[in-house]
Symmetry: C2
DNA sequence: CGTTATGTTGATAGCCGTCAACATACGTGG
DNA sequence: CCACGTATGTTGACGGCTATCAACATAACG
């Protein structure tokens, strides 16, 4: 964890964990000082709301660490997670008065937030920043469409496998130089069963049963309810149903 | 229908039906001449492919008239429509080598297309154009997330009602100065039953049954299989399930 | 007018949701 | 540190919604 109480002459962004991977990567060190001047840190605990649907948006943010879920509700309480975001994702709907969804911390979350008007001004002045945000939005749209295929056409077994495969591939173990293909992949699940269900358009019972089946089939192992080991990534990928 | 064979001195864009509503609206008349120089018209008939998934993208386009569906496939043939686009929507995935989906004409379609490299160059030079495209992308992302809620959490009845309500609200009759709320709304359905099913994550039989039920309930009337009259827009909206 | 594509309707089956009971993990206060 | 209460997760029985299979009707087309 970095020191954030020092808001003095030194630039906080210098030591930021997501300095280059976040949208800030589009800014030079000098430009970043402007951002540094208007940004501040915000810490959230699981379940804490970040944005309410239809709420007026007054600030944007970068996820420095943790997971944030974007949800939508039907009037009778049915819920759907329409986006899951991790560091170094950008948070907030640019150029709109009100948020089209709820945003809520799924885990402990560390945000770097900045006021909307100031950010939109910088956005206007720095084409690279806007371009970067544009790229990210296009990627999010691609991801949303992938998820539409899952929601509309995949079976419960395929949905759960797809989700676990996606999370597993985000694991720090993957991409580690020492990691061999075929090796066990261990990770901490950022969502509880109810949230997984809301992400996949299923019920908690169905999610639980499908995880149980994968366990019985030797595809994965549970060390705790939120501590997964994928024993066979290839099998998991197959079950995901391309 | 405009004359497009005249590619002479006069600017074709001058008489374009979507001149101001398409992304071109971000360009001045002079800037538009550059676009005019590189664009050409393309006509398509229903079912004709526009882009194949994983195909290298070589051009972009605007929809001048008609409807285009964006689809994704699972290996066993299950299909999901992940986007439905109408005039004056922009067509194509900017800044990516290959298309993440299939694009196909749903109706007769009139496109105004331009080569990808030339367009991306203009995009770099005209911040307003990029900004406009960025806005459109954000709107598409919002729409995709609305659809995720539908796919994941709505019942068949709600799905069909939501879809019909969406199409009905696009009808030329709505927004006409003479149109009264509560009046019958007539429109031509751009998709066949199979395509509606692929858009809603249902089967054709279920779609047909739900339309039948709405007819029996006096919410709508069918003059032909593709000619709908919504008799009670408010009821339809209620059934959509907010 | 025959042929094929598209759409409707009925019967049946199965996947997944619902309801319920129980198990386990977590947090709080005694 | 343990006891208790609550939140979270698992498992089982059952039912309903929607898919599947099938037959038929209607529309589109040459």
């Amino acid at each position: 964890m970095q020191t954030v109480t020092d808001t003095g002459a030194r630039n906080r962004c210098d030591v930021c964990a997501i300095r280059h991977r976040a949208v800030c990567g589009a800014l030079s060190n000098e430009e970043l000082e402007a951002m540094n001047g208007i940004s501040r840190q915000r810490l959230l605990t699981p379940g804490e709301p970040i944005l309410s649907a239809d709420e007026e948006i007054t600030w944007f943010g970068n996820i420095v660490s943790g997971a944030v879920k974007l949800t939508k509700l039907l009037s009778d309480g049915r819920q759907q997670i329409v986006g899951l975001q991790f560091a170094p994702d950008f948070l907030g709907r640019a150029f709109k008065e009100r948020s089209p969804y709820f945003a809520e911390a799924a885990t402990d979350v560390e945000l770097c937030i900045f006021p909307k008007p100031a950010f939109e001004r910088i956005l206007k002045e720095k084409p690279d920043l806007e371009f970067r945000l544009f790229q990210d939005t296009l990627d999010e749209l691609d991801a949303a469409r992938d998820w539409m295929l899952l929601l509309g056409r995949k079976t419960a077994a395929e949905k759960v496998a797809s989700f676990l495969y996606m999370i597993a591939r985000r694991s720090p173990m993957i991409g580690c130089a020492h990691h061999q293909g075929g090796e066990e992949v261990l990770f901490q699940m950022p969502l509880n069963r109810s949230e997984i269900a809301d992400y996949l358009g299923l019920t908690i019972e169905t999610v639980s049963r499908q995880i149980g089946r994968l366990k019985a089939d030797g595809v994965l192992q549970l060390h705790a309810t939120r501590e997964f080991s994928i024993l066979d990534m290839d099998r998991l990928s197959e079950i995901s149903g391309v």
